[in-house]
Symmetry: C2
Subunit: 213 residues, 2 copies
DNA sequence: AAATAAATTTTCAAATTTGAAAAAATTGCA
DNA sequence: TGCAATTTTTTCAAATTTGAAAATTTATTT
């Protein structure tokens, strides 16, 4: 080996730039030239380090799934052992910085563009299932007696609210929409009441370890 | 006038084709050439009847807003004078044919692409406000004692669920997602309980007439 | 310093997309 | 038929996007 490889770093830089573009312009609206400009690298380097357009999209989706999975696991692990509803809502609606907002927009863009890239369709499906599962586990802490179907309905509702509030935020509606979203999410969680009982901490720990393995 | 003008019909045909493309490929993913192919017309006719790319997008958004507004009013008018929750949920989740599904996907594409077209941003904002308002009026029939904030939260939740179920449907999840969505929507409506009382039919009629004016 | 492997720049061709306008064809009517 | 307004087809140029590979530079090892 003559010269130290920077392929790993460059790949990250390129995909970071790609994500920023996709969040604003969507998958189809993002040209290789634009990614190059955004990353401060030449277009030929995108090709050298990652590949052609299809391979770029593939790489973006791959990295997205992976990082999203570990991020979701971290979130699950950070939950308290009881009374998870409030921290969950904070995590989904309040503690959203620019990066996490972008991640959400990228997910939407990938789902929307999945028609064009069959491989991505499969992966986004797994990603979505995984997200629902994680949310169900957290919901289960406060509402262990709610049946799985009810938990899934609520989890799905939370995801829908998170997605849409970020999408609509592009219209510049201010944070009144954010407040409404969080309150609507709260309504969904509270709809599981009547099944409420004391949480079982050990269940949460098991789940966390299993997922991180 | 020597030859009867077909501009109105052609314009509709072109925008129909445009919508079909946008639902699948998004605004940025749709080329003029593709619209031409989809409509069975030559690209130069798009230009002749409507204009360049920016004007095409503008025309699409304009038509969308208008037709969506009248459609929402028809929906409002079709509601019974009491017990509106069930028909509302049917309308939003069950009675969705291919056309209406496309309309929803187009709305999402327009919102997502609003960053590129400042004029559209404004219009999609109005469109969204109008939709929320209509939903609030329907919700108000069954839950007149719920305060306006609560109604808006629920309306926003319903919209989020409708949007996301159609977006995720592209991943081919089957109709289990549809069922979950409808049930989650039901949970939101039921969360307004405690304020429930007998509906006031005349309120609904007033609203309808005012909107159609 | 020379060799070597990796990274970067440069360059070229092909395909696609869009804008624009001229030329031709169609239709109704005097 | 011939005029007139409208629609449609044809054609061309410019700009953008992508693919691909050659040439150059850079950094490490021997």
């Amino acid at each position: 080996m003559a010269r130290p490889s920077v392929k790993a770093e460059r790949t990250e830089e390129i995909l970071d730039a790609f994500e920023r573009c996709v969040a604003r312009l969507g998958v189809e609206g993002t040209t290789l030239e634009r990614i190059a400009e955004e990353s401060g690298l030449r277009r030929s380097l995108l090709r050298y380090h990652i590949g052609n357009r299809a391979e770029m999209v593939q790489a973006l989706a791959d990295r997205y799934i992976k990082s999203s999975r570990t991020e979701a696991c971290k979130m699950l692990a950070s939950m308290p052992e009881s009374e998870t509803s409030s921290p969950l809502l904070d995590y989904l609606f309040i503690d959203i910085d620019e990066d996490q907002r972008r991640k959400i927009l990228v997910a939407e863009a990938l789902v929307s563009g999945a028609d064009l890239y069959p491989e991505i369709k499969q992966r986004m499906n797994e990603w979505y299932s995984n997200f629902v599962m994680i949310l169900c586990r957290i919901i289960n802490v406060d509402y262990p007696d709610a049946d799985a179907t009810a938990q899934r309905e609520v989890a799905w509702g939370l995801i829908s609210l998170v997605f849409n509030v970020q999408m609509m935020a592009a219209l510049g509606g201010g944070d009144s929409v954010l407040k409404d979203s969080r309150r609507a999410a709260e309504r969904l969680l509270l709809s599981l009441n009547g099944h409420r009982s004391k949480p079982e901490p050990e269940a949460k720990l098991e789940a966390s370890e299993e997922l991180l393995a």
